[in-house]
């Protein structure tokens, strides 16, 4: 069951990225360019996405387990450390360089255009690099 819900959620997510034009790097860069001809539409995407998501997380509070799995797998640690902030900072720089974060980067693969294939390959390589480096930061 949770396999098929993953497929359904992926379809909804991909369709949402296209409809909101968030899968388009040009749109994302126009949103991030606050000093230029700012395009606020991605703030609407984020705001609208938070609505059902927040309702679901409120719903979760009164429950022991999800509808079709043994338990919830939601991180509970609250420590803000240098790994978290350093990783977020690096991710933001990469996002700003090209205009692609992981979801849109994968969605754009359906165009089969080489810049998107190259970006996604580099992204997986970056994940592999993280896996290989035994980082032990504070």
């Amino acid at each position: 069951m949770s396999r098929w819900i993953a497929l359904v959620c992926g379809v909804l997510f991909g369709a949402g990225l296209v409809i909101s034009d968030m899968a388009n790097p040009a749109r994302v860069l126009a949103f991030l360019d606050v000093a230029g001809d700012w395009d606020p539409s991605l703030a609407l995407v984020m705001g609208a996405a938070l609505l059902p998501s927040a309702l679901a997380y409120v719903w979760r509070r009164g429950r022991q387990r999800p509808l079709a799995a043994a338990q919830f797998h939601v991180p509970s640690h609250r420590t803000i450390d240098t790994r978290l902030l350093g990783g977020a900072a690096l991710f933001g720089i990469g996002w700003g360089l090209v205009g692609l974060c992981p979801g849109p980067a994968l969605a754009a693969l359906v165009t089969l255009q080489w810049p998107f294939l190259l970006f996604a390959a580099a992204m997986v390589a970056g994940m592999a690099l993280h896996r290989l480096l035994p980082l032990r930061m504070a």
Binding site: V11, A15, G16, V18, A26, V45, P52, A89, G96
Partner: protein, 145 residues
Amino acid sequence: MSLHALHWGWPVAGGLLIGTAAALYLMVAGRVMGVSGLLASATGLGPGGARAPAALFLLGLLAGTAAALAVVRVPAFAVTSSWPLLVAGGLLVGFGTRLGSGCTSGHGVCGLARLSPRSIAATAVFMATAAVTVFLARHVLGGAA
């Protein structure tokens, strides 16, 4: 650079779909819908865990994207970065999202929704460094990205 503005209904409708996906994934599967984590799990680069659902999510993502592109008229995806920037950007996004345990979906859509202090901090940081990067590229260095 002048991309025509969207009617507000499109970003709102798209955002609601993304949020509904996050809500269903939590309610039914009990998991955070974070694309960087799902990609890491599906490719075997994550901390382990459920590989099959992660791969199915990514398959659905591609199918949903393709289906929506066939039905809705949106501007063509435009990426103007040179290949060294694409490689550098991809490496930073892949490495950074693993080190920072999440991206726009996991920290942004799911983490903010549950008021996680880590996700709030991470989202503030990646939004800020992304905006500074675009500012430097477009207004200081001049059109490099």
